[in-house]
Amino acid sequence: MNTDTIAAIATGMTPSGIGIIRVSGEDAFKVASSVFLKKNGKIPEAYENRKAYFGYVHDNGTVLDEVILLTFVAPSSFTGENTAEIQCHGGILMMQKILELCLNNGARAAMPGEFTKRAFLNGKMDLSESEAVMDVIASKNDLALKNSVKQLRGSLYEKITDIREKILYETAFIESALDDPEHFDLEGYPDKLSVKLLSILHDLEKLSDSFDDGRILSEGVRTVILGKPNVGKSSLLNILAGSERAIVTEIAGTTRDTIEEKINIGGVLLHVIDTAGIRESDDIVEQIGVRKAMEMAEDADLVIMVVDSSTPLTPEDEEILGFIRTHEKKCVILLNKSDLESVIGPEEIACYTNNPVIMISAKDETGIDELKEFIVREYSKGLLKYNDEIFITNIRQKEALNSAIASLLCVAKSITEKMPEDFYSIDLTAAYESLGLIIGEQVDDDVIEEIFGKFCMGK
């Protein structure tokens, strides 16, 4: 097995605040010593596990960038090997320069997916976890990774396992009847199987559709914040997210340009969907943003409307209030800017809707506790829907699901055409195996190639 030292840029090849160059392998620290010096101009005497060193990267004495060096000693790293991570300033040119420097000092350029492959081979993660890494590669964020892994190991795994067990039971029954017809009777069996197939197919199709929706939404109370531009939606979001901010996933390629955010409010997980409207941008886009926000709100479990209490209601506000009145949504209206002189009070809002009204000031952070209490209270009373539906996010999973569905439809066709029962097992087995691919219970070397080949360089 290769145990040489590899290096790659671990963050995306886009300009960003911080860029990370990851070096992994036996000689990772040797490479680090060749390119990094502490602020005092010295090489660290020893590299400790999980330690940060502040200093600079130099090329034969020429300082390139001020950086933080993070060191992980085997086996306590992502890959299970000695790992050095150089956190530099995020310019593409700088990242490339530092990488080149590492390559000139004993490291080899990593192959796609090679870090994860090493992590896998060193027993640091299993195959489905590796795949989860691929799924969240865009977020490049360890928290996101954990979340995705949890999802894969959690509800989806259970759901698929459950369906596979059902299929296995039917296969086993047919096989038993073939080998021991005296003790296992197939009389009336095809009809019974038909009914069971319908229910399994329903579950699988629902899973498959969850991909088509492009609703890459996971657990949580689906929450949308509505409000005209500049009423303080982003400030509110920032306050709510605060230090508890979990993950931000940008969902590229979906038709809805949204940011989705997980916020933990007193133990209630909110899945907040931000629309483009939340971003500060010119008026036209904002207009589209509000419309879009209302569209999103159609599917929401909780709508938070923000109103600027220092200025009179505008037609836009009225449009949103109209929306709230006509949609029976769990809703709360926040009268923001209570720090300023208010021209709107709860009674004005009451003309439009009976939903509760809370006075807040995003600036002074007042009224926020009330809002949190409201959410926790509604949730504990069971009045807030909580989305724990399972969904699939990855095209390979979808393909496997669809091929399982196709196989089960073949079984259904065999039943309709009154084929002998022994024919069912070919397609039942195929469905069983396809589903196994999703959860790593079935091995297919193509999947291995795919998982480790598709990774971006730095993972």
Partner: protein
């Protein structure tokens, strides 16, 4: 042991002349190797000490595969059967299975003659008691009377004779089946050479005097009107003959009551039996205990031959004491006054843990030593014959320094059988079953020749005439399928009348004949009236054409599964890999893999204790090599 200086030299020594030993000895001799076969009694060559039939569900497949490769079992039963039936005809073609009742004495005698008259083959009555092994390779065997037989290869087919012990209630005898002499000395030699042994158990029902049975209380079971021979070389006309009947009857609550009341006297339940019995061929005691809610169990009453009055009571094997046996058999309708000729009994014997073998059936650790049959922990004549054939062929290949014959799971039931034995750590007598074969739609009894004859030809057991006949058959099938796919019938009155007469949907436009065959209510034979230019073809060709067209979709899907299987089989694992050095593997997996040294990722994936995650690690490991 008696010391003599008598020695002889052979290419191949076969120990045992049961169903495995016969196939092994014949294969080796027919491949031109100087061969000797030892048996404890020449009278027990190809003995059928249990059921009086060959074939049956999935076992019939094995017999046809043996025949396709050039073995003897199919030919021998074709010569000596007294009733024949194709089982499961209401099911799909994959599970159709041929079963023939044998005249046991005739079967044994006929096979004995084949052995005795086989060129290059010596038959010798003697007990082999010691293996001569030097530097990890077999050099020969010693027999009890003192002689030494040197050989390049040895095939062990000791069946149920090794340290055999028969139990009938409290009565225990130290004999092989039918009171034949047990082989008591070889075990020690096996242990000395580091071979791991199991102790297994099996059983057989009583034989009852036909004159004491009232058949009017039973249901008569006749043979098929049109008999299909087992052997692809047998002339179908030669199997047209008068057949005898079997009879169906049932146990009842009274039977079960007697059994339950006497369970403490059963050697199994009293703990006297040490060996593990087959779950899939249970004694009547087992059935009554395991299927406690079953009110009755089927029994088939089958003749042992034309020249005996003994009738075999299939479904009621037992090791209960004699007095309990008499009482329980007499509760069965038709057996009220029965007289038992031979008691039912259980037999215990030594066999090996078959995971010590390679797929060629050669011991991993002893070069030139092969094993086949019940000695490998299987059960059944057909399973034995199949392994004996492969072991015999590979002993010959070993002497000839050629590649061994290996049949994989997608090529035959024989492949499934051997792969299961050497991979799956079965701790009970292994019986072939349809459900063990993943690709059974491709592994039908009707196409065993198309699947395996070429391998038999390559090995050298199938002659040029048989091979050319196969090529012709392949061509006829291919051409006829092609013709049916490209021959259209139009929607004219004659055709529509025909469709109506078959309750089949009328045609909207022209349609290829092949598509009509695919309709559930039609098949190749039934559309003959509208197939004007149909060539005259043999029955077996017509059958293949029909199956291949009718089930094309299923066959194609199964082929895809086979392709996926083959991909993992083709990922070879070297014997030199030290699995403990691969960090991602779990401890259990790496120790199992180091013990087994699987030949491929595919085989590794079938070892219990090796999880899919471990296989992924191996796959990734291989990509790094």
């Amino acid at each position: 042991m008696i010391q003599t200086t008598f020695t002889e030299e052979y290419d191949v020594v076969v120990v045992g002349a049961g169903h495995a030993g016969c196939e092994a000895a014949l294969a080796s001799a027919r491949l031109g190797l100087k061969t000797i076969v030892f048996t404890v009694s020449v009278n027990s060559i190809a003995l059928m000490p249990c059921n009086p039939n060959i074939g049956g569900s999935s076992k019939g497949h094995l017999v046809r595969e043996i025949d396709a490769l050039g073995g003897e079992m199919g030919k021998n039963i074709d010569k000596t059967f007294i009733q024949s039936k194709m089982l499961n005809v209401s099911k799909g073609p994959a599970v159709h299975s041929l079963r023939a009742q044998a005249d046991k004495a005739d079967y044994s005698m006929t096979m004995r003659q084949v052995l005795e008259n086989q060129e290059n083959l010596t038959v010798k009555q003697a007990e082999v008691c010691e293996l001569i092994i030097e530097d990890g390779a077999i050099k020969g065997v010693k027999i009890f009377t003192g002689g030494t037989y040197f050989a390049k290869a040895v095939v062990l087919c000791t069946g149920t004779y090794l340290r055999a012990r028969c139990l009938c209630g409290e009565a225990i005898t130290y004999t092989g089946p039918n009171g034949l002499m047990a082989a008591n000395h070889l075990t020690e030699s096996l242990i000395e050479n580091g071979i791991e042994l199991f102790r297994f158990k099996t059983g057989t029902p009583a034989r009852i005097d036909r004159r004491s049975i009232d058949f009017s209380k039973m249901e008569e079971q006749k043979g098929d009107e049109k008999v299909v021979p087992f052997s692809f070389s047998t002339d179908p006309k030669s199997v047209e003959k008068e057949q005898i009947s079997c009879y169906l009857t049932y146990t009842n609550e009274e039977t079960h009551k007697i059994i339950r009341a006497n369970l403490d006297r059963s050697p199994i339940y009293a703990g006297v039996i040490e060996g593990t019995g087959p779950r899939y061929c249970p004694s009547i005691e087992d059935k009554v205990v395991r299927f406690a809610d079953k009110k009755r169990h089927q029994l088939f009453v089958e003749p042992e031959g034309l020249h005996t009055n003994e009738m075999y009571i299939s479904g009621m094997s037992s090791s209960l004491p004699e007095d309990v046996q008499i009482a329980m058999y007499r509760t069965v309708p038709g057996l009220e006054n029965c007289k038992i000729v031979r008691n039912a009994y259980a037999i215990e014997y030594d066999c090996i843990n078959p995971v010590q073998l390679k797929h060629s059936l050669e011991f991993k650790k002893i070069k030139g030593l092969f094993a086949g049959g019940q000695f490998n922990g299987s059960s059944g004549y057909e399973e034995a014959g199949a392994q004996g054939l492969v072991a015999g062929i590979n002993a010959a290949m070993y002497c000839l320094k050629k590649d061994p014959l290996i049949i994989d799971r997608s090529e035959g039931y024989i492949g499934v059988l051997i792969d299961d034995l050497v991979t799956k750590e079965t701790h009970e007598p292994y019986r072939m079953m349809t459900s063990r074969s993943e690709y059974r739609l491709l592994l039908r009894q009707d196409n065993a020749d198309l699947r395996l004859r070429k391998k038999g030809y390559k090995v050298g057991l199938i002659n040029a005439d048989q091979y050319n006949a196969l090529l012709l058959k392949e061509k006829q099938i291919k051409d006829e399928i092609e013709r049916l796919k490209t021959t259209y019938v139009g929607s004219n009155a004659r055709i529509q009348d025909f469709m109506a007469s078959k309750d089949s949907a009328l045609l909207k436009s022209g349609i290829p004949l092949a598509e009509l065959i695919c309709r559930p209510e039609l098949d190749y034979e039934s559309i003959a009236p509208i197939d004007d230019n149909r060539p005259e073809l043999p029955d077996d060709v017509r059958e293949q054409v029909n199956i291949n067209i009718k089930y094309e979709g299923y066959i194609e899907r199964q082929k895809k599964q086979v392709a996926a299987f083959k991909k993992l089989e083709e990922k070879k694992l070297s014997e030199d890999i030290d699995y403990s050095k691969i960090k991602g593997l779990r401890l259990e997996a790496s120790s199992k893999l180091n013990t087994f040294k699987p030949v491929s990722i595919g085989q590794a994936s079938r070892i219990s204790g090796v999880s899919p995650a471990d296989i992924s690690v191996l796959l990734v490991y291989l990509t790094d090599k």
